[in-house]
């Protein structure tokens, strides 16, 4: 799996401040750390960034590329900032994060993807907001692919994002996103996929977020997810992405398939993975103390 490091983010106290103050050194340190941690892309989340977006992205892209060679994911709803980022992106192929399946977003951003031969994340968020189930996800995906192909954008530039919801508010949406993922290869041959993984644990106690993210990644991986936007510093998660924890993958698959599991025979880590898979898959109801019950 390819990994997109999410940590350079306007919402972060440290890096948000660095972005506002144009503090290149702090941001470059992070970029180097992300590269060393094995990220395949660095996400540059500057938020909506209003009037300053264009200037900020034009400044930021070369600053990051001064210290790393990784492709950058231009993460903002600001169309001018995206274009500025694409212009400034000289190392490898840039990624637009993201294009929603809304007419005004596609009209503005698909031509840029084409012009700069950029990759882009196609976020399955439609004119009426979040799709309600896998079928609405499918319909949005088909619409986006149709528009992209009409413009002559090749499928390998496209990363479909079926939208990750938090387990503690919209567990049923996780199921429909997973179901969508099962039909995705047939629906969109040649296309890639990605997911904003950390949202699964949004609102959960901070120290328990990694295990939710890790188990969720295993579930996505099982159904062919090709990349994920992740916490750069969750090294356990990277091992899973690289396929270094096959025993945990097998265990989570057993839970998903409804097989009997003898909890007493498992290690504490394995038990925690089983319990977490059960709350993500809705076999048991989530609560903040899910690992203790």
């Amino acid at each position: 799996m390819k990994l997109i490091g999410e940590n350079l983010n306007i919402m972060s106290k440290k890096y948000g401040k660095a972005l506002k103050e144009r503090d290149a050194k702090t941001l470059q340190e992070l970029a180097v750390q992300e590269a060393e941690a094995g990220m395949d892309y660095i996400d540059l989340n500057i938020g909506p960034a209003g009037k300053t977006g264009e200037e900020l992205m034009s400044w930021l892209v070369p600053v990051i590329h001064e210290v790393v060679d990784l492709p950058l994911a231009l993460d903002t709803s600001n169309i001018k900032a995206i274009e500025a980022g694409l212009k400034a992106h000289k190392k490898g192929r840039a990624m637009i994060n993201s294009i929603m399946v809304r007419p005004e977003r596609m009209d503005a951003l698909l031509p840029l993807a084409k012009e700069y031969d950029a990759e882009f994340i196609g976020l399955l968020w439609g004119p009426e907001g979040m799709p309600r189930d896998e079928n609405e996800r499918g319909a949005l995906c088909a619409e986006l692919l149709f528009r992209a192909s009409e413009m002559g954008i090749p499928p390998e530039r496209i990363y479909i994002d079926p939208i990750q919801t938090p387990v503690n508010v919209q567990q049923n949406q996780i199921m429909s996103a997973l179901n969508f993922m099962k039909m995705f290869p047939d629906m969109a041959p040649g296309c890639s996929s990605t997911i904003g993984l950390s949202n699964v644990s949004n609102g959960a106690p901070e120290h328990l977020r990694p295990i939710l993210n890790q188990v969720m990644l295993i579930l996505w991986k099982r159904w062919g997810m090709q990349s994920a936007i992740v916490d750069t510093f969750d090294y356990e998660l990277h091992k899973i992405a690289r396929g270094e924890r096959p025993e945990l993958e097998a265990l989570v698959a057993k839970v998903e398939d409804g097989e009997e599991i003898d909890m007493a025979s498992l290690t504490k880590e394995e038990q925690d993975f089983v319990k977490t898979a059960r709350v993500i898959l809705g076999h048991t109801l989530y609560s903040d103390s899910w690992l203790e019950v």
Binding site: N168, V169, H283, T284, L285, Y286, S287, D288, S289, E292, V293
Partner: protein, 314 residues
């Protein structure tokens, strides 16, 4: 081939919880199927209507319609309580400690608890003491109530994540029942029950308050959350949610605008009394269908309607 109705497979049941003590103690819960699905499982204890009284005169806060049946007693909580039990046959009484509200009268905790104690002593039916959902004040009041009413097994509400340690400990110490209250959220309802268990509150001493939305004011959210609690408890064997449910209906219904506008103010909404009574009855019945074991109600005519409904459904 004969018609075979599909049957839900259940993997759990709701625990029984006893409110009050002695001959008039009331057992709630115990259900092993969806509400009123007596063709699929047991419903040993029919749901109950609890009647609410206030610990202060509600003149000026209640509409004429709600006030009328209690006009003669609203200034005396003990007389009011007795009227509910003796005249209207209340099987459970709820005393809302409105006088404690720090944003209004802010009566000292000890005085509030004195009145509660008098009411509890004056009736033989179980009493639920419902606070004002202010963590600090409720903690003070409910500690005093728990101590003064020791041995009566009153139910104390609302016990929330922000005050469960203090109030939960008081309930534990004096063997009262905890009404665990969460803000219309199934995950938080589960979490609070886990926290109460960890504190040592036994499972047969916990009742869930999912937080009630009145008709037109979020009833559907409460309904959905109660459905999910019931599904988790009965079909997923979620033992942290297998508790009976109480809904504080009257307090929500009667504070909304439409329940209080006069016929003259809102002629398009029809007769004021019929409207208020129906809004209360319909909210209560909906919540019974979603899985409520106790509905807290105010107007005797609405109560009659709901009791009649329960009888027909059993």
């Amino acid at each position: 081939m004969a018609f075979e109705p599909a049957k839900q497979k259940y993997t759990g049941s709701i625990r029984e919880v006893v409110l009050g003590t002695g001959d008039k103690a009331v057992k709630i819960g115990g259900r092993s199927a969806y509400p009123f699905y007596t063709f699929e499982g047991e419903m040993p204890n029919p749901p109950k209507v609890a009647m609410e009284i206030w610990d202060k005169d509600p003149n000026g806060e209640w509409s004429e319609v709600a006030l009328e049946p209690f006009k003669d007693v609203v200034s005396d909580p003990v007389a009011w309580a007795k009227k509910c039990v003796e005249e209207y046959g209340a099987e459970i009484l709820v005393i809302q400690t409105k006088s404690a509200d720090p944003n209004a009268e802010n009566k000292p905790a000890v005085e509030v608890a004195e009145v509660v104690k008098k009411v509890v002593d004056a009736v033989d039916v179980p009493v639920v003491v419902w606070g004002v959902a202010n963590h600090e004040k409720d903690t003070e009041v409910m500690r005093a109530v728990a101590e003064k009413c020791a041995g009566k097994n009153v139910a104390i509400a609302p016990v929330e994540e922000g005050d469960y340690k203090q109030i939960g400990a008081a309930c534990l110490g004096y063997k009262h029942t905890v009404v665990a209250s969460s803000p219309i959220d199934v995950n938080l309802a589960k979490q609070l029950n886990i926290l109460l268990n960890n504190l040592g509150v036994p499972e047969n001493k916990i009742v869930i308050d999912p937080t009630t939305g009145g008709l037109g004011y979020g009833l559907e959210y409460t309904y959905s959350v109660m459905e999910r609690i019931t599904q988790a408890a009965l079909t997923q064997g979620d033992d942290k949610l297998q508790q009976p449910i109480i809904c504080n209906v009257a307090n929500e219904v009667w504070k909304c605008k439409e329940a209080n506008q006069t016929t003259e103010e809102a002629p398009e909404l029809g007769d004021q009394k019929t409207r208020g009574v129906m809004m209360e009855a319909v909210t209560a019945i909906d919540l019974l269908l979603a899985g409520a074991d106790v509905v807290v109600m105010r107007h005797p005519e609405a109560i009659q309607l709901v009791k009649g409904f329960i009888e027909k459904m059993m």
